[in-house]
């Protein structure tokens, strides 16, 4: 829903990485796996 979308947009960047929650290796690997080469 728009609300959910707005919530995620506020909490996560376009690669699905949280703006505020600390990350760890596993999470970062997952984020990197979503990063394609869209410069």
């Amino acid at each position: 829903s728009p609300d959910t979308k707005e919530h995620f947009a506020r909490e996560y960047d376009c690669y699905g990485d949280s703006y505020t929650a600390d990350t760890d290796v596993a999470q970062l690997k997952e984020v990197f796996s979503r990063v394609t080469d869209n410069k």
Binding site: S18, Y19, T20, D22, T23, V25, L28
Partner: protein, 216 residues
């Protein structure tokens, strides 16, 4: 001058052991020399290029093919054992020796060639020459053998070196990846802490703005 020495057991006298040395210039088809010895006597003879051509023609065999057969019969020795037969017949005084060589077939055999060998007056010299030739070949092979052994050791050490370097590279790649992730996480979590802090300040600013409004 190429030379090769082989041990042969003639079908004409299977108990006997003879030594056959064939020598030729570059190409066996251009003619070859034969030395035959039983260790005590020795006989020698040659087969010319013309005779080779005539033999091939008589057998209506392609000349190259015929020379190939000669190589297998006279030079390859033990490698083609059983496929070729030799027959040796000596006259009483051993002055002459008739030497023939034939190809074995399933249903019989056909003669590849034959020649009359002349007795050598000093067989001891021939024996010395054969033994010297053997020792020279052994010496060369030993040198080659040592060279191959050294080459073998060098290649093995090169291979194990590069194997170790590959292992190190794989380890280094894994370490690099882990190291980069750890560094990235530190930097990224710094930024996230900054964002949390800014969001907290922003929320406080919004609340105080809202309070001010009410107050007014």
């Amino acid at each position: 001058m190429e030379k090769i020495l082989n041990r042969i057991c003639p079908v004409s006298d299977p108990e006997a052991v003879y030594f056959l040395q064939v020598s030729w210039e570059k190409d066996l088809g251009a003619g070859f020399g034969i030395i035959l010895t039983d260790g005590g006597c020795a006989w020698t003879g040659t087969v010319s290029e013309t005779e080779i051509s005539r033999e091939a023609a008589d057998m209506e065999m392609n000349r190259e093919k015929y020379v190939e057969e000669l190589k297998k019969a006279l030079i390859l020795g033990e490698e083609s054992a059983g496929k070729y037969n030799f027959a040796i017949s000596r006259d009483e005084e051993n002055a002459l020796c008739h030497f023939s060589y034939e190809r074995n077939l399933k249903d019989g055999s056909f003669q590849l060639g034959s020649l009359k060998l002349q007795k050598v007056s000093h067989p001891a010299d021939v024996v010395k020459e054969l033994l010297s030739h053997c020792l020279d070949c052994l010496g060369r092979l030993q040198v080659e053998n040592e060279h191959l052994q050294k080459e073998n050791e060098r290649l093995f050490s090169d291979w194990s070196d590069v194997e170790k370097r590959l292992e190190k590279c794989v380890e280094a790649k894994e370490e690099l990846e882990a190291d980069l992730y750890n560094r990235f996480i530190l930097v990224l979590n710094e930024k996230k802490a900054k964002i949390r802090n800014l969001q907290k300040l922003l929320n406080e600013a919004k609340e105080s703005a809202a309070d001010t409004k009410c107050t007014r």
